[in-house]
Symmetry: C4
Subunit: 234 residues, 4 copies
């Protein structure tokens, strides 16, 4: 008899395996989850298991209140952050977390990544936000759970939509990305790393580099995402 969570285990497994392939993780420093909204659960990487030892069957099933539903292994230590985001953001079905080199450096520098070019604008119309480090109370309390709120609060304060901006830096920590699928969340992690790398170089070449002009931001985003978009095969 087939396990009813098999599809999200498979999806989460494949998305997790993309992280080392895309050069986004060292050892086990990353995790991806895939949610099924109808079942109200998500499949996530087990904690501390090397990617070469992963199998779909090892994925852990957790509900949106962080309760373990199925699985013999302990889920990723960041599981509660995933749960909080799934619970409050209805239209995402995948979340990825990495410590990828350049995006993490921007997180550590506590700087938003300025929108310097069309590679950035193809995916976002705003600077990549960097949430401030959490208060001591939040850290000492339910840390990973609060990390989810830190992410959401940052979006609220900046007036951002999680459906338009699918990535964030958590100050002193590292990036989180999400999307309609786990694969899209991983795609966003790779794009963010690329944007972070190029923005770093841009400032090194020209410390006074200017943000992209509004018309160009709008144009590039709309040709990929607007109603009259003409990038890709419909």
């Amino acid at each position: 008899m087939q396990n009813k969570y098999e599809h999200i285990k498979q999806e989460a497994y494949e998305a997790n395996m993309q992280l080392p392939n895309l050069g986004l993780v060292l050892f086990t420093f990353g995790n991806v989850s895939a949610a099924d909204r109808n079942l109200g659960v998500f499949a996530i990487k087990p904690s501390g298991v090397p990617y070469e030892d992963l199998t779909p069957a090892k994925m852990v099933i957790v509900d949106f209140d962080s309760n373990l539903v199925e699985g013999s292994l302990r889920p990723s230590s960041d599981t509660k952050t995933h749960a909080v985001l799934y619970k409050h953001w209805d239209n995402i079905n995948g979340i990825a977390h990495t410590h990828s080199t350049y995006a993490t450096a921007w997180s550590q520098a506590q700087r938003d990544i300025p929108i310097f070019g069309t590679t950035h604008a193809d995916h976002n119309t705003v600077d990549i936000p960097c949430a401030p480090p959490m208060s001591d109370e939040m850290i000492q309390g339910n840390y990973e759970y609060e990390t989810g709120f830190q992410v959401m609060n940052c979006f609220k304060e900046k007036g951002l939509s999680y459906e338009e901006v699918e990535m964030i830096l958590v100050g002193n920590h590292a990036p989180f990305t999400w999307g309609k699928t786990a694969a899209k969340a991983v795609y966003n992690s790779a794009v963010l790393e690329n944007i972070a790398h190029m923005a770093y170089l841009t400032l090194s070449i020209n410390a006074d580099a200017e943000r992209l002009k509004d018309a160009l931001i709008k144009k590039h985003y709309e040709r990929k995402h607007g109603p009259g978009s003409y990038y890709g095969q419909q």
Copy 2:
């Protein structure tokens, strides 16, 4: 019966596949075309199709006025830029566009790449030009079509010949390169990325680094491209 565009489809396919091999693209962020001047058309990558799924048959045939001639897939979103350049620059048969990391960083920094050494001089006698970002009118209008004119106008204003300088940076965007063949255009993209990387490092080591002296510029270019050239086999 053989398709009459098969040779340029094959050429465009092979040249596109070089982009990931040379480390010049992430996902689908790049495209190459190959033209046949007699037929008045070019073959170009379909939009948003991953490189691993490409085949020669998937290449799209377009004429120099951007009309779709053959193909079931939508052509690259940058197709009109290619068409404009083929239409106005008679002696090129290949064009490549990438968002390669270092060249794109210089584009975002809106800086010409200074000619610092013989690697650069082996291919060009001038700084790699960076075209300014387009006017809002050009952006809001026929954007990709106007990008072609932005490239050509930059060459006109600087008095450059597209037959001698086969590469440009478009400000806030990324590089375009071209050549007698699609393979040469891709070769130029890789050379440009290498030059961009080394120029960035040069300025980091010595902020006052001087441009190459004229005698050395002339010597290196001529030994590879002059009438008495002695680089390569004949």
Copy 3:
């Protein structure tokens, strides 16, 4: 009849072979050892032998006073440093030494690596210490032996525990790392290189980047290493 050192030869061999796989060495610029406390010896890489020519049988057995116990090849030129550390630090069974690019650059810059983020805090609660270059007397005397004391003295002066901080930079030289096993020592070398890379980028992006706040340092370290740790599979 089985060689009584076979297990540490195998362990040292496998750990050494991880260095090139993890991109931590050029040519032969690195070495790993594995100790057996009951036998009072360690197995170490032979000096100057390329990794592709290594076999478990080529590992050299040395005691904690640097006496050659078994092996037809000359041991690593850094052997005495390993011996001193094993002799004085009872709870380590593996040591790794590399000239990995970013960690070595911090050594050459003679700078402690500031704790800028949670990747660092997951492994250490303090800045990665950089021991000052040795006195001329120590260098001209028993150099590699004294290097071991330079490492230990630095820990003493800074009040650090070698069981909590498993890595150090030796000024003008390069990093040493250690752990309960040779594999853990190599793991620490890779983590250190990653931390060194990200700290370098962090300072390049924001020269005034602040160290991680205390609550976050404590939280991240404890979730991985404290009594109530919840990272990994118990």
Copy 4:
């Protein structure tokens, strides 16, 4: 009947093939030669031939006065520089030239590479010299021939021995390295690139980083190269 140059063709072929394996060349931007002092000739890479198309038989045989001795292909455009160095420096049998990224950046910055650490001191006791760009007369005359003299003059002026320092940067151009064999020359190219990379990072981390102290320079060089050396297997 065996070709009497077969051994140096094979040696030059294998050494040339190491350049792409070690990540030191893009396309054909590099060349290695192997000399036979008894025969008074050297084998060198043909000009502009991609590494994947190289075979031992394609190597070109040239004497120390740059005369073509055997081979159907045109030799590397840098052949005269090799010939001059073989003619005047009796104890070298291999020369390598690359445009490797970091070493070339230092050449373009026209800066000697300061001796910052023991990786450097293991191979050299001095800063890696950067020869100034040549005079216009030298460039317009017999350019590649004069490049050899530019290298030798720089060593003369700085009082360096080519047997102790086996590498140089040519200002605005790129590095040359040499050694007792072609393989050693290539080894030196890789070491130089590594040193150049780490020195660049060192200065980025600490603009006031100090050169290695004399005692440490002496110690590291002597343990690898002095009469009482103890690195490697005798």
